[in-house]
């Protein structure tokens, strides 16, 4: 069975209810095909896992979704709106937020500032309003502060609000990135290896946390994760990439039993 066949099945069954739809997305870097004709759909409220061996194209897929890398061909739409050609900040405005595999916090800034910045799209104050503390800024700034504080509390970092992000522990940086992404008030949250570097206890907590966040903010979540038990326990559905191709898609039990997946993991890594 080929990847294309999967996509046919998927498109026919999820067209109307999907929040995110990827059709034949392809990305080449020179001769290398990082993502090859991948298609899938994500339904609202779902926690959708994206797994695969190293170099399978997972992060590239995230970059395509968030607009950091334009696809070479294919279609991506969010809530029925085509994302192709939109710059990252536009996609963020539409309600897609993400975290990064190699944490990209604003290291020299405080945790609070990191979260404040991400509220950019939900505030409007211009230069003069900001400088004079009048007009929009007058109303927005307390709101921004309150929201940032609330989100830091949610991820348990309110004590460290004034500390520079680069001084945080690895796990705290991951949490801060999630808080920052949540500040965008997204509808779709893309988490790139949120458990990387966390200890087993933290990982267990993370599952509960992600579910809680999903429910609290009515989110749809797509996550990349290496830690298989976490993915199996957390995700509603899983897509498996290998060498840029989608080799399996379905609920955790089905995917875990798929011979192609077993082959990819055993043979690959």
């Amino acid at each position: 069975m080929t990847a294309t066949d999967f996509s046919n099945i998927e498109t026919s069954s999820h067209t109307t209810s999907s929040i995110l739809s990827v059709k034949n997305a392809t990305r080449r870097f020179g001769g290398l095909i990082a993502v090859n004709e991948v298609s899938f759909e994500v339904t609202p409220g779902e926690i959708f896992g994206l797994i695969g061996p190293n170099g399978a194209g997972k992060t590239t897929m995230f970059n395509l979704l968030s607009g950091l890398t334009p696809p070479s061909s294919g279609a991506i739409s969010f809530e029925g709106r085509c994302l192709i050609g939109l710059p990252p900040y536009k996609i963020a405005e539409l309600g897609v937020a993400r975290t990064f595999q190699n944490i990209r916090l604003f290291g020299n800034l405080s945790a609070l500032e990191n979260v404040k910045i991400a509220q950019h799209t939900h505030t409007k104050a211009g230069v003069l309003s900001g400088v004079f503390g009048a007009g929009r800024a007058r109303e927005e700034e307390p709101r921004v502060l309150a929201k940032a504080t609330e989100l830091l509390k949610l991820v348990g970092l309110d004590d460290l609000a004034g500390e520079q992000a680069k001084n945080f522990s690895y796990g705290d940086q991951r949490r801060l990135e999630i808080a920052r992404a949540l500040a965008l008030e997204p509808k779709l949250l893309l988490l790139d290896e949120p458990a990387a570097g966390m200890n087993p206890t933290e990982k267990q907590g993370l599952s509960d946390f992600i579910r809680m966040v999903r429910d609290k903010f009515s989110l749809t979540i797509v996550l990349i994760e290496h830690h298989v038990p976490l993915v199996m326990g957390l995700c509603d559905r899983i897509a498996v990439l290998n060498f840029g191709q989608l080799i399996a898609l379905g609920n955790p039990a089905v995917v875990a039993g798929d011979p192609a997946v077993i082959e990819a993991y055993l043979g690959g890594d």
């Binding site: 992060t59 970059n63 950091l68 890398t69 990064f100 595999q101 190699n102 990209r104």
Partner: protein, 321 residues
């Protein structure tokens, strides 16, 4: 355009372009290794010319505190130019130790290198002015030997015998010397252990040090080579036009920046290409627009950067996400 004029402009452009290239190579190898721009490179250019001038036994006709001073000996020109450029190279190394290394060890913002080397340039220029003076120094007209002295320009007839194209002999010599230097440099960088290591360090200093390349030693050699090239270019221009004083290298310093960015920062063939492009572009500025000749290099730079933000041969920066 008239073919005679075309050929003349072309040869002029090549001649000055190769000097730009040699000078700019000094800039670019430092950038390729350390990711910094050495603003004192123009001052090194000046120093090279002064060193050679005094090494051939020239007297200081300037009014600085060393007025009328000179060395008690005079070296043959070929030797003087090599020693003079080498001395410029060691000045480059000294600058590295004083102005760049402390910044590197502190992990300071690379931008600061601009300021620290600006300070060095200010010191060099004003020190030359203080010691030597602001006056013009000229190489004797027989510095390239009697033949050049007797035949300061050569007529070329290969287009139209009735209208010979006069080319300055010095220009031809400089062009030839520059070509030899560029070939040697290409060999050095592509074929020798030093060159390979240099490229490795340029590629990634951390990996290079893991591979056993002593990064510090290669930084030393890079600045030596960079200063040597800068000093050599200064001497060549000085013999062609005379040394116009302590600010001799300033215009070349600025234009050299245009050259390396045009070619692609840190890219060695790019610096050569950039030098030739700017040299030729300047040579082909129509007479009616000679007023804008000075801006040609920068206009070209501006336009090319808008089309190719990484310069002509530079690699596009791919940011890893």
């Amino acid at each position: 355009m008239d073919i005679t004029v075309f050929v003349q402009n072309f040869l002029n452009g090549l001649s000055i372009g190769t000097v730009y290239a040699i000078f700019a190579l000094g800039y670019t190898i430092v950038f390729s290794i350390l990711g910094i721009i050495n603003f004192s490179h123009g001052a090194i250019f000046t120093l090279g010319a002064y060193f050679t001038y005094f090494l051939i036994g020239g007297l200081n006709n300037g009014s600085g505190i060393l007025a009328n001073a000179g060395l008690p000996f005079g070296l043959p020109f070929v030797l003087a130019i090599l020693v003079g450029s080498l001395m410029a190279g060691f000045c480059g190394v000294l600058i590295e130790r004083l102005a760049f290394k402390p910044l590197r060890t502190r992990g300071a913002d690379p931008l600061l290198a601009l300021v620290s080397s600006l300070g060095v340039a200010l010191v060099i220029v004003n020190l030359v002015q203080y010691l030597i003076g602001a006056e013009i120094l000229s190489f004797p007209s027989n510095v390239f030997g009697e033949f050049v002295n007797q035949n300061p320009s050569i007529n070329f007839n290969f287009v139209d015998p009735s209208r010979p194209i006069p080319i300055r002999t010095v220009q031809i010599i400089i062009f030839a010397v520059s070509l030899v230097i560029l070939v040697l440099l290409a060999y050095l960088i592509n074929r020798t252990k030093f060159g390979k290591a240099l490229r490795a360090v340029a590629e990634n200093p951390i990996t290079a040090s893991l591979l056993g390349v002593s990064v510090d030693r290669y930084i030393f050699l890079t600045f030596l080579l960079s200063g040597f090239l800068g000093g050599l270019a200064g001497t060549l221009v000085g013999t062609s036009f005379s040394i116009s004083g302590p600010y001799f290298g300033v215009t070349y310093g600025l234009k050299g920046l245009a050259v390396i960015v045009l070619g692609g920062l840190g890219d060695i063939p790019g610096a050569v290409l950039g030098g030739l492009v700017i040299g030729l572009a300047e040579a082909f500025v129509p007479g009616d627009f000679s007023a804008y000749k000075e801006a040609v290099a920068f206009a070209l730079l501006f336009i090319i950067l808008l089309v190719r933000p990484q310069g002509l041969l530079g690699r596009r920066l791919i940011q890893k996400v």
